[in-house]
Point group: C2
Chain length 242, copies 2
DNA sequence: ATGTATCTTTGATCTAGGTCAAGTTCGTCA
DNA sequence: TGACGAACTTGACCTAGATCAAAGATACAT
């Protein structure tokens, strides 16, 4: 049941059909998009677009992971978001890009000319409604991350990150499952507002305490999920009254 | 030329008419909104809604400033956004609220029943288009703030904050103008991911260095704008190629 | 006017996490 | 199969900003 993306299949078989900017579109709308889209693949580590560049396309990530980041003049870098399949890149209504976008793994994008996409936004309500919804979700995620960056300790940051990775790819029920860190220690550090040494030390100490075990630098298994969640510093509930 | 908001005036004379969620609406659409809206005012310091509460309304700030924040169990607080006139509160499509919303100054909201607003989002494209646009702008601002929280020094954080306050209420040309900090030292600290003591010390040192001068705890004038901008740690240009 | 609470400043000290510096592991390519 | 480089770990030390503590300011209520 493993989706292998194939450009020739068309939108109907697209793995992100029901989650991307096109999610709310009906068959007719989809056939319009079909005629406008094009694919492009970027190798691992390759820059997709730089801050300040002209934005010629609005794209959706079809496969792979990209990062959004900003680097200050002296080299300090902050990753402000990870773009997973179905996430979009670009801002209709803006001429240039505000953050650097880089392929963290090999990335395939489904792209639309920005000008054409802007006409879709005004002419096809299903598009603006879906982009609105996605932007509001991203906004929420960004604000949650602001709490982490501004107020959490190194340990809480790492625990939150690991828990996020686990939550994102856990197959229901199947516990004791192996997971893969999608980022290097340095990339994790830039995402969490830490140094790579601190990331390494915190991971080592969680290993020593028996919360996690690593089979390899990138592959790990959670041994004590309760301890992991406790270490995130978040409420167990999402603010819901019990 | 000072707008005094008056509920009786109706949408046409509303001070946020051209910037809020209704900005793109035509006269007919506006008259629909007119029949659905209601106003509510909150006193300075009063909570507007708590994280986890049922979201009965979607609102726009008409006057005043509100804060969006999250507090961890042990009391650490992070302000994740300031809501100024025209900014909206609430997320169409969600049942509950994700952050605490508090009136920083006296705040007047223009409110819509959430359920009714959700029908507007599906029936009136001008609404979803405008909310999309605003959400994308907010997302950008949140990401910029993530860079500040994750990578900037205390001095850079304060300089960025002051510069933001100045930019937001500068009358063109008029330099040497007096500005007012909208927040207490503690609120500034919670917005910047610092302690109130560090905020106070950094402000004192910028005063000592002649970058700013205070006429009062809240009122200040910028004496050296170049030094202030230099201290933010940002590129002077917005990544634009010169 | 005066007392009280809130906000702010400043000083002294402490510490989490950064910086600097070796090593170690692992994957790749000859 | 070995050697090179990238990624990672660990240790020693340092510092920016937190914490703890004590005075000043300011505003507000009586």
């Amino acid at each position: 049941m493993n989706f292998v993306f194939n450009e020739r299949d068309g939108c109907a078989k697209c793995p992100i059909r029901h989650r991307a900017v096109c999610a709310r579109c009906d068959e007719d709308e989809l056939s319009v998009l079909e005629g406008m889209k094009s694919y492009k693949t970027f190798a691992q580590g390759e820059p997709i677009i730089w801050r300040g560049d002209d934005m010629h396309h609005i794209s959706s990530v079809v496969a792979g992971i990209a990062s959004l980041s900003r680097t200050l003049e002296d080299g300090r870098t902050q990753v402000v978001g990870l773009l997973l399949p179905s996430d979009f890149i670009g801002r209709p209504g803006r001429e240039t890009v505000d953050f650097d976008v880089t392929a963290v793994t090999e990335v395939t994008l489904c792209r639309f000319q920005r000008k054409q996409f802007e006409t879709l936004v005004t002419d096809v309500p299903h598009i603006s409604q879906r982009v609105m919804e996605m932007a509001l979700d991203e906004l929420n995620a960004a604000r949650e991350w602001m709490v982490l960056l501004g107020r959490k300790t190194a340990r809480e940051k790492i625990a939150t990150f690991i828990e996020m990775v686990v939550r994102r790819d856990t197959v229901p029920v199947h516990t004791g499952q192996a997971h893969t860190l999608p980022l290097t220690r340095e990339e994790i550090a830039n995402f969490l507002g830490l140094t790579l040494e601190t990331v390494s030390r915190q991971l080592s100490s969680m290993k020593k305490e028996g919360v996690l075990t690593f089979s390899d630098r990138r592959k790990f298994t959670v041994l004590n999920l309760a301890a992991l969640q406790e270490a995130t510093g978040d409420d167990a509930d999402g603010g819901v009254i019990i």
